[in-house]
Symmetry: C2
Subunit: 164 residues, 2 copies
DNA sequence: TAGATTTCCTATCGATTTACTAGGGAAGTG
DNA sequence: CACTTCCCTAGTAAATCGATAGGAAATCTA
């Protein structure tokens, strides 16, 4: 922990509010069905997300080609593709940039010297693993509460839920 | 990406400079051997880390029980335990707090509603996976450039090194 | 004991990022 | 036209990040 500060919430790897909100909004759209559109306000209320903030995030999802928007009275947002073809990784990347980085640099662009040389393959391995999970699990999986077996088995280990 | 900004380095999951520096410093100590002590300045120079910044990080490692320090002429820092008994995860946690969090909260403390309910087990699975890798790989592994086979095989996939 | 060395502690700093909020314009609907 | 809903730009308070400064405390050598 950083010296001198009492409560440290400074994290090695974190998922931002933006990414979390983006995924939850996309899940609401997935649950609604590919051709039902929902208003930003309705999503915001359902998920407890500040609605003006959510509007910005939905704009990112639209520019990223994940959702389609419609203005006016019967407007709203809907998924651009079937929910089972949209991995969680895509949503996070579109809302928040690259999945994993070290010091703001992506692993392949790092250079290490001396005994730290093997750090690079280690970060790469971590990244590959995160990518594998979040690239495999789709909106449809989560919305239907049916995660793939290999992911479920990871989450089933009781030790995975403990704190430290 | 966030609307309106040109270059986005805003990341879903990142390893901070602090965590990176902490691991690299610990690796220098591991390479030096358990009972050789190194001065902060020497580590800073070897790894290209701002030395006053590093001093603070080494203080965290000391308070976390990972290194032992000695002041004065022949002083410096050395590992408190053999390098093969210190996982990378420990170093990161001591320097930077919990490994993985969502919106600054640790996964078990989150609560989701509706179609987002299965997000929790998903984050838990991601965390379990990161923990598994970083808890398995020790300072000795990295310093000797001999990562465990399962980690190596992850990093060997050429696709793991690609950008997006 | 004096002097040199090196850790240890506190405080501060500028830049960036994060998580939001405000206000109004553009597009579509009845 | 009136109304709705998305769309866009700006701004902002607070936290965090990465780093620096200055000196007190401990330890060693001579």
């Amino acid at each position: 922990m950083r010296a001198g500060t009492a409560v440290m919430d400074n994290l090695a790897m974190r998922i931002s509010a933006r990414a979390d909100y983006a995924v939850r909004a996309a899940l609401e759209l997935a649950a609604a069905g590919e051709d039902t559109s929902l208003k930003a306000e309705a999503i915001a209320e359902a998920q407890g997300i500040p609605h003006k903030f959510l509007e910005g995030i939905l704009g990112d999802l639209r520019r990223g080609g994940l959702v389609i928007s419609q203005r006016g009275g019967k407007g709203g947002y809907r998924l651009a593709r079937p929910a089972d073809s949209i991995p969680i990784a895509d949503v996070i990347r579109v809302a928040d940039g690259p999945l994993v980085s070290v010091r703001g640099v992506r692993p392949p662009d790092l250079s290490y010297v001396g005994p730290a040389e093997s750090l690079l393959p280690l970060w790469i391995a971590v990244r590959a693993n995160v990518r594998k999970i979040l690239g495999e699990v789709t909106l449809a999986h989560v919305a239907a509460a049916k995660l793939p077996d290999d992911v479920l088995s990871l989450a089933d280990d009781p030790e995975a839920w403990t704190n430290p």
